[in-house]
């Protein structure tokens, strides 16, 4: 029998079975007093897909994940996994693996016994569950540390054990509730790549929750941005960044400049340049134009309307902070003072620019603005 490469990558090497199933969350509603944690929330996950819910604190992303796990009751709505309606199905019968934000390893069990816990409660014999636990510890690169107790492991190692534990019973769905947020930056980057590698290899349908946009964009097939209990937009990371559907998404994903502009018959005029865009407003209206820092150009000009106030070296790219003329009502958010524009250019191109230099800032000809 032959299999395609794609099928091989989606097959659990330990069990030989395809793990991914489709997940449908349909019109979920959940209120906590006056707060609507979920407000008609719907989401579909394709088999084997890794979808991330991204959003600010309190937007409902963790509630959505916990509703899927069965840890949070919903007021209305349906959860269907692999064609099975999970209404009324208790948590322990939902066949899902979960990694929690804070360390949730059982402190009285070794790493191996933690990983084997799900198999133990299913009555699997000791030799088989030990074998499976050791395989998974190898998978998360913790082979040889199976006899250690959680307090003898670092934070990153504990979360890797938690990942192995969640995967051990071969769950239909993997749920990751901000599993990296308690770790330091370097470990976070390494572990997120490992999570993605393991998930891709096993092909387990995965819902990941985070408030860290870099994390979301770097490992997801699709990212859903949430606000006030609803999905604002769900798309691939590239599309989400390049074509945010709403100003909220634009601001939440990546850095965005807010610039004053005026609508024209076929678009908008901003920083002296006309850009084609559908505004839905009559010509001549004053609007906020949202542009990414890389969608702007900065050129040295002693008589220009802008003055460089700072530069931030980011490696291949340098971010230039330009204070534009007092007559302009422009600025960058968040954290700006209302008169500073951020421009990202290749470091070599702006090497000569330093604080105090006069410059002109304008949109690149192919810039794709968003009008608020």
């Amino acid at each position: 029998m032959t299999t395609t490469d794609a099928a091989e990558t989606r097959t659990d090497p330990a069990s030989g079975r395809r793990a991914g199933v489709a997940v449908e969350l349909r019109d979920l509603n959940r209120r906590f007093g006056e707060v609507r944690a979920l407000d008609g929330f719907s989401l579909d996950l394709a088999p084997g897909e890794l979808v991330t819910l991204l959003g600010p604190s309190g937007c409902g992303k963790t509630t959505a994940l916990r509703a899927l796990a069965g840890l949070e009751a919903v007021d209305s709505g349906t959860v269907v996994v692999g064609g099975r309606d999970l209404r009324g199905v208790p948590v322990r019968q939902r066949d899902m693996g979960m990694v929690f934000q804070s360390y949730s390893l059982f402190p009285n069990l070794t790493a191996r016994d933690n990983v084997a816990f799900g198999l133990r409660v299913r009555g699997q014999d000791k030799a088989a569950r030990r074998r499976r636990a050791d395989e998974l510890l190898e998978l998360v690169e913790l082979g040889g540390r199976g006899d250690r107790y959680p307090h003898q492991l670092s934070g990153g190692q504990q979360q890797r054990v938690a990942l192995a534990r969640a995967l051990a019973p071969e769950p239909q769905v993997l749920l990751l509730d901000e599993p990296l947020s308690a770790l330091d930056a370097k470990v976070r980057v390494a572990l997120r790549e490992q999570i993605r590698a393991v998930q891709t290899r096993l092909g387990t349908t995965t819902l990941f929750v985070t408030h860290d946009q870099e994390e979301a964009l770097s490992i997801s097939d699709r990212v859903g941005v949430m606000r006030d209990g609803r999905l604002e937009q769900i798309a691939s990371p590239a599309e989400l960044y390049a074509r945010p559907a709403t100003p909220f998404v634009a601001e939440f994903v990546g850095t965005m400049n807010h610039l004053p502009g005026t609508t024209t018959a076929d678009g908008v005029e901003v920083l002296g340049r006309r850009l084609p865009v559908t505004t839905g407003r009559p010509a001549g209206a004053e609007v906020d134009v949202l542009l990414r820092p890389e969608a702007l150009l900065v050129t040295p000009d002693p008589h220009g309307t802008g003055v460089v106030v700072a530069t931030t070296f980011l490696g291949a790219v340098t971010r230039v902070h330009v204070r534009v003329g007092d007559t302009q009502r422009s600025g960058a958010r968040p954290g700006g003072d209302g008169t500073t524009v951020l421009v990202d250019r290749p470091s070599a191109a702006v090497a000569g620019l330093g604080p105090g230099a006069g410059v002109t800032v304008e949109p690149a000809p192919d810039a794709q603005p968003l009008v608020a």
Binding site: M96, S102, F106, A166
Partner: protein
């Protein structure tokens, strides 16, 4: 000018002095006295011979038995109550139970004895009420002044004491553990068997040791309740303090005291061994 700092150990001096004067010195006096013949002032082991035979041996047996029973049963009941209260979302209930436990755990002596005599004594309110419906407690062999009667009375302060001392340990049980176990397919019984109880075991053992000590040293309640009819070591020591003692046996009371110290010492050694076993994961 630089001020001279007071060494940290100075803060310990009052407590250390208090402990030496009111614990160290009496213990030494009791231990030394237990080896002395009061008539001749000579060294003797006779006091221990008397203290470990007859009514005094039965006293140790009853005291240890009563203390074990009233450490284990109220310990388990207190643990269950504390877990139930912790699981409740009602802050009002948590506060009410904490306050009530604080009061009941410190309610003892003559008032507690009177409370039980009035309710479960031979003509007590509850006894008369159940007799009216055809149940004769005393006729069936129950007596408030017996071993099991006293055990019930001890439960009055032992259960709330367990609630008070185990509650902080329960806060250490992370909700995440329960959710993770649920998520991995464990039933509530499997969670408690494999995670909850093993995690709590060191604290539960410690609390039960405290309950044992509380019951083993209890004097006033039993004394008021039984008037010395139940042979318990603290009551017997009390009789020596009261001067109600045969001439030449004054130091038997001291030997009984040493015996109590030995019992608690042995129990603490057993506790340390058991503690090490159940808390391997903490080492």
């Amino acid at each position: 000018m630089k001020q001279r700092e007071v060494p940290a150990w100075v803060g310990v001096v009052p407590f250390a002095a208090y402990t030496v004067v009111f614990l160290g010195v009496p213990v030494v006096a009791v231990v030394l006295g237990s080896f002395v013949d009061p008539a001749t002032g000579a060294f003797t082991l006779d006091n221990f011979g008397i203290a470990t035979s007859g009514v005094y041996l039965r006293g140790f047996g009853s005291s240890i038995g009563l203390s074990l029973v009233t450490a284990l049963v109220p310990g388990v009941l207190g643990l269950v109550l504390a877990l139930a209260v912790r699981a409740s979302p009602s802050l009002r209930l948590k506060r009410a139970v904490a306050t009530a436990s604080g009061v009941f755990a410190n309610f003892g002596g003559v008032p507690l004895a009177f409370l039980f005599v009035a309710t479960l004594g031979s003509t007590g309110l509850v006894v008369e009420l159940v007799k009216a419906v055809g149940v004769d407690l005393y006729g069936a062999g129950f007596s408030l002044y017996s071993f099991w009667g006293v055990a019930i009375v001890y439960g009055y302060f032992q259960i709330p004491l367990m609630v008070l001392v185990i509650t902080p340990a329960l806060e250490g049980l992370r909700p995440n553990w329960r959710e993770a176990a649920d998520n991995l397919g464990a039933t509530p019984v499997q969670y408690w068997r494999h995670v909850g109880l093993p995690v709590l075991a060191p604290a539960v053992l410690g609390c039960m040791l405290l309950l044992f000590g509380s019951a083993f040293s209890a004097y006033a309640t039993t004394s008021a309740l039984t008037s010395g009819s139940l042979a318990l070591t603290p009551i017997q020591i009390g009789s020596f303090l009261n001067g109600n003692v045969l001439s030449g046996q004054e130091n038997v009371g001291r030997a009984l005291g040493v015996g109590m110290i030995v019992v608690v010492g042995v129990l603490m050694a057993l506790y340390a061994l058991l503690q090490r076993r159940v808390s391997r994961w903490l080492q």
